[in-house]
Amino acid sequence: MIVPLAIYLHIPFCRTKCTYCAFNTYTNMDSLIEPFVDALIHEIRIGGESKPGQAVGTIFFGGGTPSLLTPEQIERILAAISTYFDVMLDAEVSLEANPNDITQEYLSELRQKGINRLSLGMQSANSSELKLFARRHDNDQTARAVSAARAAGFDSLNLDLIYGVPHQTLSGWDWSLQQMLALQPDHVSLYALGLEDGTPMQEWVAKGRLPTPDEDLAADMYELATEKLAGAAYEQYEISNWSKPGHTCRHNLQYWRNLPYAGYGPGAHGYADGVRYSTVLSPQRYIKALENVSDPSVFPHTPATHEAVVVDRSAEISETLIMGLRLTQEGINRKTFVQRFGIDLVELHQEVIEKYVNYGLLHVDTEVVRITQQGRLLSNMIFRELV
């Protein structure tokens, strides 16, 4: 079986920085965008040339804020990918956007250039939460962005929400969910707020200026969401992801199935040909790394590669498990697992599996091992024992 590659493109620019965000992204560097696009195209070329004829099944513009790129820049990037890789006809091409950066005109152009899936960072419908996040949009803008996307012809649309926020109440969360459902997205991602080191949010909580989010309340929020989304005919397929039939995110599935993906752009991550790697973080260094390169690279390395490790069998197994068990329906297929690693999963991790089956967090049958409804919120416990 030939597995097509997924390509992740990291666009490390934002207008302003959100207060919870620890992603590799920079503000006030607009002058670097054009040189960055050139460098990215260069990196794509080097990548493609080191793996001629490689099929590509999904492309994902992530960030950062990819919607800061012009349609022309996006077109050039996609053209480079098509030139140096073998992009499949039905490829999924996603782009992340902030509700306030986009107009219908802009979206129409993107649609024409080949973007076929849009992911909007809604985050909340509640203006006080959006302020706390320092997002530059309100709920009306999100609604307008969704209509614009629909009008521009996007028939695959994702909305992101964040729960477990300081001061957030269950009813406030309920309202965000209602607003989100009213916009009828095809796909929904719900993320528990993580307090990341170095973010203002983390500092405010550490200094007591914001209350520590209550874990039990966050659990209640998750359960409420699960119920509401099921009621609205969304199917959960991953711990944090729900979709209408036929709208699962194929790009992210590639990660969860522990299948190969290339990451291009500063601070991108990739995993291909048994190597896990990441690229240099700073856009300046990234651009520099790709200037005046003449020697060919060995796939998946490029001149921007910063760290790379060869994934040995046991690491591959544990990564396959901690990613695959996130897939709430699919789980880990035992037969596929045997084909990949030559050993039965249940035999390999008998003790751990038995333990969590007893606790009711894991389900095992002859075909799959997957987490149960109860296991979704406690999945980390299981993962911890599998790394």
Binding site: E196, Y222, Y255, G263, Y271
Partner: protein, 601 residues
């Protein structure tokens, strides 16, 4: 050298009054250590000592000095520890001397260990030379303090030396006073050899190195020697003096201080306090020996990882080579598996040992709450000693439990009497009497159960007196007490390593506090974990650690799986440091919860 030109002395002082600083100056003035090689606190060789600024082990050094009278002298300085836990080590060192320089801080005056050290010196019949130190401090009150010392020792305050060890003022006078006032060693050079082992350290090449003071006779490098108590015979690997490093010499005669490297691999053959003599034509009667010190405080020490048990055993064995007061024996706990019951001279000693195990031996260890040694009289009139609450027999079989009581003396400015009184009463102490040191400072005498002062008494005393009080204690007697075992049950199972013995009056209060502290410390698990305290068979307090509901990772961005995995691995490592009690994971702090109980009441 003529024995009349030898002086052996110690410096004694309360902690921080300047003993180490004065020793440093003496080494410099006599040229024993050049200014270039001078490191502050030269005799405090152990890293830990220098860091904490506390002398833990005694050590001995020979200085050569030409006095004002034009004669050359050998002066042996025997350093002593200044902490209350190590009173016994002080007494051993003093037995090797004829005199003691008593250093008293000119701003602090007489404190607890000033007194206890003076008593030890008087017991040995030593010539005491009082010295008022730190006269350079703005807060110095040398005349007042000299008067205090005069009242204590009956030495005229006018004659008392006033010095600054730090700046060097008067340091030479100290040496002159030692020569004038400390008598030269007596002893019979022609009698059979008798030398006192007053300390030792372990050297991996030379074996146990015994620090000796030759009382009678002479010791040559080729003599076959014998230790009188253990009958162990050996040919010395080498003999020598500390000047201040180990320096080999051919012989040591009566009155001299030096060392013998025995080659022994354990302290069992060469005990501190033993008398060294010749194997052939040796002495008949040993010198009055020391008594083996008894530990005051016991605690379980366990490796965090069961696999490290034998490393812990080796480390304790090695530590004991340098620290004869450390006693231990294997112990098993249902909760913590294999470890050791270790006896310490006091809490400070316990802390030092714990730190050395962790630092010098790189071990991850877990210590249970400290306990004292109880005497338990059973209904069948058997007397048991119990140094671990886990081993207290069933209540029904006990006739009486006796606990050790201490006499304590607290030296304090008058204004803190009320606060100290409250503290002592809360700890079940009994007031004995108050003595006035001067118009503003007093010594409060109490009796108090040892168990009450080993936990946080010293810290609390310091805090209620803003650091001004000092404490000394001596064993008093065993007394029957109304004591009960406080069991802690986690998930319905009693955890032996968490059990305590407490006064019945305190059981309820302590049980409640311990339960709520544990509730704070124990992370949420997959299921509800009840925590209970039980006195006798009765549950007196209960709290639940509610079940964990959410344990998920945040968004994985752009396929950054390594980060996720690293996070999981880190968490897994953290979990590994926990102890599994049945199916409950207990963090290490839980076993020391008792120590932090009183923080907030």
């Amino acid at each position: 050298m003529n024995r009349d030109n030898i002086r052996n002395f110690s410096i004694i002082a309360h902690v921080d009054h300047g003993k180490s600083t004065l020793a440093d100056r003496l080494l410099q003035v006599t040229g024993t250590v050049s200014a270039r090689d001078m490191q502050e606190q030269f005799l405090d060789g152990m890293d830990l000592e220098r860091e904490r600024g506390v002398t833990i082990k005694a050590s001995a050094v020979r200085m050569n000095y030409r006095a004002k009278n034009g004669e050359d002298y050998i002066i042996n300085l025997i350093d002593t520890p200044g902490h209350v836990d190590f009173t016994y080590e002080v007494s051993r060192a003093l037995q090797a001397c004829e005199g003691a320089v008593l250093v008293v801080d000119a701003s602090q005056g007489i404190e607890a260990q000033t007194l206890s050290n003076v008593y030890l010196a008087l017991e040995q019949d030593l010539e005491i030379i009082p010295v008022i130190n730190k006269i350079d401090l703005p807060a110095a009150r040398p005349d007042d303090i000299a008067k205090e010392v005069e009242d204590l020792l009956g030495i005229s305050s006018g004659e008392m030396l006033r010095i600054s060890a730090k700046s060097g003022i008067g340091v030479q006078d100290v040496l002159e006073a030692v020569i004038e006032r400390v008598p030269p060693p007596k002893g019979d050079l022609d009698a059979p050899l008798r030398a006192l082992v007053f300390d030792s350290h372990y050297d991996s090449y030379k074996g146990v190195v015994a620090y000796i003071r030759v009382i009678d006779g002479k010791l040559n490098k080729n003599d076959v020697l014998k230790l009188m108590a253990t009958n162990a015979r050996f040919e010395p690997v080498e003999i020598g003096i500390f000047s201040p490093g180990m320096k080999v010499i051919d012989s040591l005669g009566a009155g001299e201080v030096g060392y013998v490297a025995t080659g022994f691999k354990t302290v069992r053959e060469c005990r501190v306090g033993d008398t060294l003599t010749l194997d052939v034509n040796g002495a008949q009667t040993p010198l009055p020996g020391y008594t083996q010190v008894k530990p005051m405080v016991y605690a379980g020490i366990y490796p965090t990882e069961n696999d490290d048990y034998s490393d812990l055993r080796d480390a304790l064995e090695k530590l004991q080579l340098n620290d004869a007061s450390l006693v231990y024996e294997p112990e098993t706990s249902q909760a913590l598996n294999f470890g050791f019951r270790v006896g310490f001279l006091g809490l400070f000693h316990m802390e030092i040992v714990q730190e050395r195990l962790e630092r010098e031996y790189d071990l991850d260890i877990l210590a249970t709450a400290p306990s004292v040694e109880y005497q338990v009289l059973t209904r069948t009139n058997e007397m048991l000693t119990v140094d671990s609450p886990a081993h207290l027999p069933d209540e029904g079989t006990i006739q009486e439990i006796r606990e050790p009581w201490m006499k304590i003396q607290i030296y304090t400015p008058q204004e803190y009497i009320g606060a100290i009184m409250d503290l002592v009463i809360k700890k079940h102490g009994e007031y004995v009497t108050t003595e006035y040191l001067d118009k503003s400072r007093v010594v409060l005498h109490y009796r108090i159960p040892l168990a009450e002062i080993i936990i946080d008494f010293y810290d609390r005393l310091k805090s209620v007196t803003r650091g001004y009080a000092s404490l000394d204690y001596q064993f008093d007697e065993y007394r029957p007490g109304d004591l009960v075992k406080l069991d802690i049950l986690v998930n319905e199972e009693p955890v032996d390593a968490l059990a305590l013995i407490v006064h019945r009056d305190d059981a309820y209060h302590k049980g409640q506090k311990l339960v709520s502290k544990l509730k704070e410390l124990i992370p949420r698990q997959m299921f509800v974990v009840p925590i209970q305290a039980a006195a006798g068979k009765r549950i007196i307090s209960r709290a639940n650690v509610s079940a964990m509901r959410k344990d998920v990772l945040a968004k994985c961005y752009g396929g950054d799986i390594s980060r996720k995995k690293k996070l999981l691995e880190k968490q897994k490592k953290g979990k590994k440091r926990m102890k599994m009690i049945g199916s409950v994971e207990l963090p290490q702090e839980a076993f020391m919860a008792l120590l932090s109980l009183d923080d907030d009441d």
